[in-house]
């Protein structure tokens, strides 16, 4: 059984149109998945059903072998956390320390243990010097890092990023990506919803959503060679990959193709 299994998941906000339809996904432990899809394709809805914020109309979700239901949601949320788009609307605490503590407080973790975990995870996201700062004095990127620390402190090993970089300036965005890379190295399972294809290239696999359905779910290198998947879903490939794909598949161009891939990954 995979670490995360979504089986025939269907969801609807209003009983009429299905926002998610017969979604089937298997994600292994430690994988980094990027989710692409144009606005309204159901990416955020999928993320919310995975953490039990929305209840499926049909289908089942298994996390680490445990089925997600109203009763098990509390247990499952210890394993899976989510960082949302707007850094301001998820900062609950009055200070950084309070915010990292929030999830642990809900889990009734003793104070002493909380204090040491806060130090440990604040250090991990490089926010140790800001523990007493209020959110008004933090940048968007710093707030997102605090959100990560809060999730790590709950001992979750799956993190969903729902366009978590989209409201950040280019520098903070790059920095946050760097932290996500470290999390991946540490063995966490990462589901990164994004509309930035260059970001998606960093993932092991890419999931393309289209009108509530899984349009494609394949290894990054394989999927990037299938131009039609992207044009069908109104997504644009980076120019360098476009060129790489248009080159003949002969050995003559192999080196150039590899260079173009490298270029896309760096960018």
């Amino acid at each position: 059984m995979s670490y995360i299994e979504v089986k025939d998941l269907t969801f609807s906000y209003n009983e009429k149109t299905n926002v998610l339809e017969a979604v089937n996904i298997n994600i292994e432990k430690g994988e980094w998945i990027a989710v692409l899809g144009h606005n309204g394709s159901g990416k955020s809805t999928l993320a919310k059903t995975l953490v039990g914020l929305l209840e499926p109309k049909e289908g089942e979700i298994f996390i680490d072998g445990q089925i997600l239901s109203e009763e098990s949601a509390y247990e499952i949320r210890k394993k899976i956390g989510i960082v949302f788009q707007n850094p301001d609307n998820q900062f609950v605490g009055v200070t950084v320390r309070d915010d990292i503590a929030f999830g642990m407080e809900n889990l009734c973790i003793p104070r002493e243990e909380m204090l040491s975990k806060i130090d440990f995870y604040a250090k991990k996201v490089n926010m140790l010097d800001f523990l007493d700062k209020e959110p008004a004095n933090l940048s968007g990127g710093q707030k997102q890092r605090v959100a990560i620390a809060g999730i790590l402190a709950m001992q979750s090993d799956i993190i969903i990023f729902d366009e978590a970089t989209s409201m950040l300036d280019p520098f903070s965005r790059e920095e946050l990506i760097k932290y996500i890379k470290t999390l991946h190295k540490d063995g966490l399972t990462i589901i990164m919803i994004t509309h930035d294809i260059n970001e998606a290239l960093l993932a092991d696999k890419i999931l393309v959503m289209n009108k509530g359905k899984v349009y494609a779910f394949e290894e990054t290198e394989t999927i990037m060679k299938k131009k039609e998947i992207f044009t069908d879903s109104h997504l644009e490939l980076p120019v360098s990959l476009d060129i790489a794909n248009s080159l003949e598949l002969s050995d003559k161009h192999k080196e150039i193709r590899e260079k173009l891939w490298e270029y896309a990954l760096i960018k």
């Binding site: 919310k48 509390y74 009055v94 642990m104 204090l115 959110p135 008004a136 004095n137």
Partner: protein
């Protein structure tokens, strides 16, 4: 806009900082009640000097407390004047005619212009205001030459009126000083947690003090964010030609609505996202949770509580005998 101070908390040391917020809330409440029980100016003056001594012991700068008083200075002045004017019992302390002639008018206008010009140039606003008020009195009192515009009228200050107004002002002063000390030395988070713990017994009648405190602390946390947002929207509207400072009442109303509508929509979305973020981190309203901020009640708190109880008892005794 980034540095809006929430409450008036100023970090520092000294005995008031070391007390448990619950102690401070209860003590301030007790002492406030005591102050309302006192009946003579003399008793109040003693209370005031005790308060000042406590401030000095607690190493709180009087200057900061006075700054805290500034916004309600106007309230104090009006209370004082109303008490004097409205209370007309007992023997008059001063009683003399006042005049209003053509020259009075000219002098008044002159005084007004001088006051406004100086107020623009100098920084001593309050002093200037008092000087102006004083000169109005002197003009009305002594400029009796020239054609009278209205009949001379009598001006009187009665002893009980003066006493009453001094009494009320000192009482207000003490109460405001007390609450300033509380907010000056207690972090907003500690204050809400203190209130939460004090209201905890109300759980029996169905009052969820923990959720109540959480709501307050989240509100505190979002005040600067919302200010920031209002600022951004105002700038955005201004860049489209809106002017928040001038215009007729109708135009102003339009501007305010153009500010309020987006703010409410944003607040609505914000609350939904915040609720999602809290739920995804396993928050369940009304469930038991541990707390990162810990309150500890020690011997200092016992002393402070005993002190405030003694003050309360003392003032009850004074009231009864």
């Amino acid at each position: 806009m980034k540095s809006i101070i929430i409450g008036q908390y100023i970090p520092g040391k000294g005995m008031f900082y070391k007390l448990d917020p619950r102690t401070k809330i209860v003590a301030v409440l007790f002492i406030m009640i005591s102050v309302f029980l006192l009946q003579t100016i003399f008793q109040l003056l003693i209370a005031l000097s005790v308060a000042i001594i406590l401030l000095l012991i607690g190493r709180i700068s009087l200057l900061k407390v006075l700054k805290g008083l500034k916004p309600i200075m106007i309230l104090l002045i009006f209370t004082f004047i109303f008490q004097i004017i409205l209370n007309r019992e007992g023997t008059p302390l001063i009683s003399h005619p006042m005049y209003f002639t053509i020259f009075t008018l000219i002098f008044l206008i002159l005084a007004f212009i001088i006051w406004r010009v100086l107020a623009k140039l100098l920084r001593f606003r309050f002093t200037l205001f008092f000087l102006f008020a004083g000169s109005v009195y002197v003009i009305l009192r002594f400029v009796d030459f020239g054609d009278a515009l209205i009949e001379p009228f009598n001006f009187a200050i009665y002893q009980s009126g003066l006493e009453m107004s001094i009494f009320v002002v000192i009482r207000l002063l003490i109460i405001i000083t007390l609450s300033t000390v509380l907010t000056l030395t207690t972090k907003p988070t500690d204050l809400t947690q203190g209130i939460e713990k004090l209201l905890h017994p109300l759980k029996r009648i169905g009052f969820d003090s923990e959720s109540f405190a959480l709501i307050i602390s989240i509100s505190l946390r979002y005040i600067p964010t919302i200010f920031d947002e209002a600022n951004k929207i105002m700038l955005a509207q201004a860049s489209r030609g809106a002017d928040f400072s001038e215009g007729k009442l109708k135009d102003k109303l339009k501007q305010v609505i153009s500010l309020l509508v987006p703010m409410f929509i944003i607040a609505f979305m914000r609350s939904e996202e915040l609720a999602n973020a809290m739920e995804s981190r396993n928050f369940v309203p009304g469930e038991k949770r541990t707390r990162i901020n810990e309150l500890n009640f020690n011997y200092k708190d016992v002393l402070a509580t005993v002190f405030s109880i003694l003050v309360l008892a003392g003032s009850i005794v004074l009231r009864v005998i």
